[in-house]
Symmetry: C2
Subunit: 204 residues, 2 copies
């Protein structure tokens, strides 16, 4: 049985996107937070690109790709991504989208099929786990889905790629996790030039 | 010439205190975030206590104490602390309090004198730097003072002691740093069992 792991690039002040008042400013923040990733071999390969850097960051990314058997995401992330991801999205595994809008599964090239789940995040997680089998379910975001999973105790691990920038505004990853403290255990820290990879296990 | 360094224990979701609706809940959060520190030899010594642990966390703390020539803090931190710190506060260096209330310097035992600066944070910083000489000015908080210093470009470094807990509510360290991104450089990461020490230099 695999794990459920949420994995996000986050600014030091806790944001995972830029200001939400326009798609442009939102993506400017996202882009800044993912600068560390675009040059990596393990990011380029699933996007159909050759070459790239192989370093400590690349090992972290490669590990994630290798362990992922299914992906869970919120509907806004899907809506923002559907067009730029194109006909051969970079996931290459089943993707479960938590949404209010029922829709037939959307089969793409390269192993990515989007399934639209309308009966809540817990149901979507059950389906994603079944699809992942022995591999992990990777929660790709956004913040709202991760907060729901945290409150429901449905996350096993969180991996944050902490970026040394204060964005000042945007979408906070941990905005609404409830008023009871949630204790985590830091299980791994890998620091490189532009990012610190922090891995946490939910205390049980 | 020393550096200006802000040093805070912060939860993974960015809080440096518990909920602000009561002193009790506020301090419950502060207490959780400082659990890692109370057993250390380098924390006990300035509090007049013997013994304590000597480990990687202790080295980080000892380094801070050794390098600090003066402290700068906000008036709320002073007001909350004045009574519990007692007649021999744990600072043992001049402390500059940014406040609107003029007051004569308050001389305590053990080398701590509180100076009350009413003409703004930049002036307080000038005075703290002069008092620190070749040593560092340590900014002890709270969040508001650190945000003012960040916006004014008056911080050289930030050291965060990142605690693996989501507090959910409280005072955010980086709440109001302006809408322009502030780039930092991560210069050191030291991970131990209960805390990750992250040191940043302000990009210049």
């Amino acid at each position: 049985m695999g794990k459920v792991i949420a994995e996000m690039s986050m600014s030091l002040d806790g944001f995972i996107t830029g200001p939400t008042d326009s798609a442009e400013s939102l993506f400017a923040g996202v882009d800044r937070l993912h600068q560390w990733i675009y040059g990596l071999a393990s990011w380029r390969a699933p996007h159909g690109l050759e070459g790239g850097e192989t370093n400590a960051d690349d090992e972290i990314m490669a590990e994630s790709w290798q362990n992922t058997g299914a992906i869970l995401m919120g509907h806004r992330m899907f809506e923002h991504g559907e067009e730029p991801w194109g006909d051969n999205p970079p996931f290459h595994v089943p993707v479960f989208v938590v949404t209010h809008h029922a829709r037939e599964p959307l089969v793409k090239a390269g192993g990515t099929t989007f399934f639209f789940v309308t009966d809540g995040v817990a149901s979507a997680m059950e389906q994603a786990k079944a699809a992942a089998g022995d591999k992990d379910v990777s929660v790709a975001g956004g913040a709202n889905v991760i907060q729901q999973l945290l409150r429901a105790g449905l996350l096993d691990e969180i991996q944050l790629h902490l970026i040394p920038v204060l964005l000042g505004t945007g979408t906070r990853l941990f905005e609404d996790t409830g008023s009871d403290p949630i204790e985590l255990e830091c299980t791994r820290v890998v620091a490189s030039a532009n990012v610190t990879h922090l891995r946490f296990r939910a205390a049980t």
